[in-house]
């Protein structure tokens, strides 16, 4: 809708007017909230089109009538690219949980699992830094992130955490790969396992600390979705790359990850009501559904194929993909909720009404 407005494509030709947009007939007031009315399809509440696609037990929300300014968004949507930032949410979770898995594997004598987890954590950590720097409008100024420390800015807190975390994973991975400096390696492993949970969870505060309705409203459950999703990905990495006989903890972690993520997500969707719509609609909803299916398939394969190398590999890949799909889904659902003024205006109106009555 807004894209249409932003790029005028109408033209007067010898055959008359071409490409004229319905925006010319735009009305103000209550009617702007009614999609169906725009194209002259008659009066009524919101047209049924958008609602029909809502599936899988999403909370039923009464059709909302609302007023907006030509249906333009109230807030400016994030300028973040999905590859960089959704990718970062995914890689940060993978890295953080993998650091825990690696440290535990080392402590319990599972060297192969420890190695792949540490290398995976380092790889994901470095890639996430690349994504973060690449997403900046001025990448050459990335060090300005360390100019100040602000607890009011999850991005500032996160930058400092990553500045400590990624080098530690590097040392842990190098020591494990080359078998050098075991004591330093051990200390680095412990350090990265200490910071890992922070890396995996703070990104939830990062996206929730915005005016994006689907992100902000979900803030109490979002960190649990994120650590669950991170655990799912790290378990998947273990299953994909480590020998089956060392992967007991990975399988248990997959159960924990998938369970935590799905339970927290369901709870969030039920609680936030209308602003949860984008999580089951459009692009965001598609990714979320894909993530759910992949996690169930991956978890089933993990538990059924405990002795099968092939099944473990496939399940591991499915779990990693599930985690990525969930992050992309959350990212796009947030974008959808920022673009549609309904999600900003209706809950605020409801809130005002509750305060008054």
């Amino acid at each position: 809708m807004t894209e249409q407005i932003a790029s005028s494509s109408s033209d007067v030709t010898e055959n008359g007017l071409r490409g004229a947009r319905p925006d010319r007939d735009a009305v103000t007031g209550v009617a702007t909230g009614q999609r169906g009315k725009r194209g002259g399809k008659g009066r009524g509440k919101r047209s049924g089109k958008g609602r029909g696609r809502q599936g899988d037990g999403a909370p039923t929300v009464p059709d909302a009538e609302f007023t907006s300014y030509y249906n333009l968004p109230v807030i400016n949507k994030p300028v973040w690219s999905s590859l960089d930032i959704a990718g970062y949410l995914f890689l940060g979770g993978l890295a953080g949980a993998a650091s825990l898995l690696g440290a535990g594997a080392q402590a319990t004598g599972r060297p192969a699992l420890a190695r792949v987890s540490k290398v995976g954590a380092f790889g994901a950590g470095v890639l996430s830094l690349v994504g973060l720097v690449h997403d900046l409008g001025r990448p050459s100024r990335f060090l300005n992130m360390l100019r100040v420390f602000k607890v009011t800015s999850p991005m500032s807190v996160g930058s400092w955490i990553l500045a400590g975390y990624v080098p530690l994973t590097g040392i842990a991975a190098a020591s494990s790969l080359f078998g050098k400096a075991p004591r330093i390696g051990m200390a680095a492993t412990a350090g990265s396992a200490l910071l890992g949970p922070a890396v995996a969870s703070y990104t939830a505060a990062l996206i929730s600390d915005t005016a994006v309705p689907a992100w902000h409203d979900g803030y109490p459950e979002m960190p649990f979705v994120f650590v669950g999703s991170g655990a799912t990905a790290a378990a998947g990495l273990g299953l994909l790359t480590a020998p089956v006989n060392q992967n007991g903890p990975s399988r248990a972690m997959a159960v924990f990850g998938v369970g935590t993520e799905l339970a927290a997500f369901e709870r969030m969707k039920r609680r936030i009501g209308m602003t949860a719509e984008p999580y089951s609609q459009g692009r965001g909803g598609g990714y979320i559904r894909a993530g759910k299916i992949l996690s169930m398939v991956g978890l089933a394969g993990t538990l059924l194929g405990r002795r099968s190398r092939v099944l473990s590999t496939v399940s591991g890949a499915a779990l990693i993909a599930a985690s990525a799909a969930t992050r992309w889904g959350i990212f796009h659902a947030g974008m959808q909720s920022a673009t549609d003024p309904k999600y900003t205006i209706v809950p605020q109106r409801e809130r005002l009404r509750e305060v008054i009555s």
């Binding site: 932003a6 007031g29 994030p78 949980a97 300005n144 650590v227």
Partner: protein, 325 residues
Amino acid sequence: MAPVDIQIGHRPNLGGAVLGDTDPATQGGYQNHPPRMGFFTDTSVCIGCKACEVACKTWNAIPEDGLVFTGMSMDNSQGLGASTWRHVAFIEQRKPMAAQDPGVFHDQDVLALAGQGSGTSPDQSAMTPTTPGANGDFRWLMASDVCKHCTHAACLDVCPTGSLFRTEFGTVVVQEDICNGCGYCIPACPYGVIDQRKEDGRAWKCTLCYDRLSVGQEPACAKACPTNSIQFGPLDELRERADARLARLHEAGVADARLYGRDPDDGVGGDGAFFLLLDEPEVYGLPPDPVVTTRDLPSMWRHVAAAAATLVGGALAAFVAGRRL
């Protein structure tokens, strides 16, 4: 309007009780600062001339923001953004002219309406002033929007580089030599004010003409406004002026008139730039109940800590259970 004489270093006479909480410059660490400056935009006298948009662009050397014909109204700049720091909204309504509406001859239960206040539920919005009226009724609302320079500014709170800062006038300004274009301030703003300039990479917004204020001049938009719809001055004074104006409009029968962003107890602690509107805020593209996102941040951090602990617990459990799986 005559330029306001700003005495830098002048210590405002604030009683002990007033100091602190509500004065952003004091909170920002300024000791001897000038009074908090802001805008009062009275949309009831806006004529939609866009002189403010032009003056702002000219003074601040803002690049072109898209040569777009929207076809929806006289509004082609559509909203505030990186290169649009003043934005004039145009709303056409099938409603009687505001000044001619006594606001009492409605077939409505006024006591029930009074109990409900100005907030209208979506299911009852058929009764709002925005409902299209009878043919022949027509009014045109025009309003010049701008950065609100919030008392509790989310953009400022979340900026990880310290590029956004609070000035001695209590306004919020981006230091473009520091901004690295992380874009965090953009979705943090509950009003959709600040945005990234694509070709430049950094975030930009209204500075309340910090440079002009610093030499005792009023901002370019207020200077250019031919009807005094945009009024600039010390916020305390503007609030008094706005209250008086609102009372006069109500007396004259303009029942729809209301102040937006004036209340220091709202979700952002009150706006440094506030408005007199003739309809619900969302009609103008403004959020009806904006809240600074960082109000919930302490709770967010607590949930993050709980989730991190859950992850550690889950991992420990995985290694205990992992022996049998």
